[in-house]
Symmetry: C2
């Protein structure tokens, strides 16, 4: 009865199927291994069942392409198999990225990419702001350049006053966007309400002096949807102009709830702590591009995609760029998500970052801003100067001759 799990390529219309692309290592022939996935994740079971009906046959997953050379298999899951109305990302993942990872017949299996048809896409909110509207908030919608962000450092340990002081310094220095560290929520040493109130006051003061509005993404990643909403309310009541959620550890449904909430009229920055537990291994798990597509659909306005190997985090250039492309390419009119590069970055890396990412990106600096010998303001200035130099086609070295903050930054961080 395995034939119901196989189809020819031209029988699979991309309008009617979710298509998942897998890399597989198995002692089984590749087609057979693909059938195991198609079966397990649709109607299947491991033994002949007597309850098999016509409708079950219609819902069967179908292997429609196999590439022996690269050990890839393409499986099409009929749209009807999905709970489009209620299931969302959790239902999609339970099918394309569910039990299959544990099947003993497969030694390793990696979900490389997914195609989600319009019928399903249109049930998702997508980003409320997206790149274009965040550019309007920052004022870069005409002269396009990458946005520059910072995480306050040390990651945790500062109190609200200290946090606000650092925020003020980097805002004056020229940063576009500040975010909480992903581990900081509402700890006693830095309560969220007081932190937001003081940081926003500092940013308002900076705006009066510079004319520029800096965004502050407040981390509301919480224990339950109720505590999350409580933190969102506290953040918004105290003037927060951006929210941040750590969508892998909270679950993507929490992000989608925020994106669909008509009372939340600020962009949502998405961190991805824990992703590398399943995205890093090249032979098993899930490729970042899949997570990127789902987080864009669910409404992330900004998403970390890695640094393409530039900085402290592990990354494959191709993996980063594919994730980036998933945020930028046209998908059924859904707004674009700003790709964020973060992790061990400093001003000297900006030319490489620009070459890889182009202008539609956020470059985010932690230690590479606050660790500047003359402090966070000088660090922010140095980053801004490096961006300016690149946008004008001047080498950092040359620009540094007339910009002491950049010069010191280049002296401090050599690679």
């Amino acid at each position: 009865m395995d034939e119901i799990f196989v189809a020819k390529g031209d029988e699979i219309s991309p309008k009617d199927y979710v298509v998942a692309e897998y890399y597989i290592e198995s002692n089984l022939p590749l087609l057979k291994a693909g059938i195991e996935i198609a079966k397990e994740e649709s109607i299947g079971t491991w033994t002949k069942v007597y309850t098999l009906t016509e409708s079950a046959k219609r819902l069967a997953g179908k292997v429609f392409k196999v590439d022996e050379e690269v050990r890839k298999v393409w499986v099409a899951f009929p749209v009807e198999l999905f709970d489009i109305e209620y299931g969302g990302v959790s239902n999609i993942l339970s099918i394309v990225a569910g039990n299959l990872f544990g099947l003993s017949k497969l030694e390793n299996v990696r979900l490389l990419d997914i195609h989600i048809p319009e019928k399903i896409c249109k049930k998702f909110p997508g980003p409320r702001f997206g790149i274009e509207n965040i550019r309007k908030l920052i004022g870069t919608n005409r002269e396009k350049r990458p946005h520059i962000g910072t995480i306050i450092k040390p990651k945790v340990g500062l109190n609200p006053d200290e946090t606000a002081k650092v925020a003020y310094e980097v805002a004056i220095g020229g940063i576009d966007f500040i975010k909480d560290d992903e581990t900081l929520v509402n700890q006693k040493f830095c309560p969220l309400e007081e932190r937001v109130s003081k940081v926003m006051e500092a940013l308002d003061k900076a705006r009066e002096e510079t004319g520029r509005q800096v965004l502050y993404a407040v981390n509301v990643s919480a224990s339950t949807p109720y505590t999350l909403i409580e933190l969102v309310d506290q953040a918004l009541e105290n003037g927060a102009n951006m929210l941040m959620i750590d969508a892998v550890v909270t679950g993507i449904p929490m992000l989608q709830m925020l994106a669909e909430d008509p009372m939340i009229n600020v962009p949502i920055h998405v961190h991805r702590a824990m992703h590398a537990a399943f995205t890093r291994n090249k032979r098993h798990g899930i490729r970042m591009v899949v997570l990127a597509k789902l987080i864009r659909l669910a409404g992330g306005d900004q998403l970390h995609v890695g640094t393409a190997g530039i900085g402290k985090m592990e990354a494959d250039v191709r993996e980063t760029l594919d994730a980036r492309d998933a945020l930028l390419k046209d998908i059924n009119g859904i707004r674009k998500t700003f790709p964020v590069a973060s992790g061990g970055l400093h001003p000297g890396l900006i030319p490489s970052l620009l070459k890889v990412f182009g202008v539609d990106a956020v470059f985010q600096f932690g230690g590479g801003c606050h660790g500047h010998p003359d402090g966070p303001r000088a660090g922010a200035l140095a980053i801004r100067q490096a961006i300016e130099a690149c946008m004008r086609g001047i080498s950092l070295k040359e620009y540094a001759e007339t910009h002491p903050e950049l010069r010191k930054a280049l002296e401090t961080w050599s690679s």
Copy 2:
């Protein structure tokens, strides 16, 4: 300044620290690699920062034990570092299982286990029912035996009437517990409301005939907390006596929301689709035991832990048993979670399952029930008979001589 990230073992009181145990592959000396984790996941950053304060030093993670032979490192994170009130599981994971997986200085890193101190544990609900109260519902609190469950098969494709018919058959046959497949939510071919109403009617009818109440875990894994609550309401209004959530793909916060809801007075069955994307690799990712502890804290009454290599799913006996133990051992008075073994099981495997799991477990059968030559009722009977034989110390072979359903099952599935 690395010395602030190191401590002696006797300086670490388990009352005041979350302790994480990691396996690490890195070119760095092991202590140094451990410090990278301690730093990244507490106050750290990759370069000297000028904003380092006394309070930050107090919050530093500490490497306090290293075992070169097995490449293990133990890191203690001070309780104060955590947002106990609001952060919950997402905050814990963002620290002990966050960015560290992507650090380029570490080639592979696996979170092997965590210790969570009482101060944090007591903020979690834990299971509302737990093993003892589920036993009361089923009527096995005196004569303890494993519970037996089934997933309706085919996994998806049956309509509500067909589902109810199968449910009735297995209930009459002697199954304790039925669950939806993890990919079935509220699809058009089997709407949740109608499905629950018809299945509960069938189970009520079976109860009138047998005197036994069968539990039915309805899958409410949904796109957002709002759609989830909508499905929960539909399920409960139609008589559901158990709920099911797929806690990895929805996020554990959705489970905790259910467990804390005073209006939900039924046990919660937890599926774990996608877990093997990060639990399976022995060198990288997260061990199942960690997930098991967090899901128990967050309120799962039943949780899949694998089959210890018995059946179709990949598993290491030690991994399964450690996850099982995490559900059963005494943790600050939190109720015990029923471990569930599921995946490719059939009656002939019950003696092995009992030997590995003991009586405090749920054995769950899909094809190994419904694929019985004489249908689902005979399949359920065969499973029940195999349990009876084992509880009386009679071999399956001998018991099969007087129990034709078991005999046919043993003939059908040989290993």
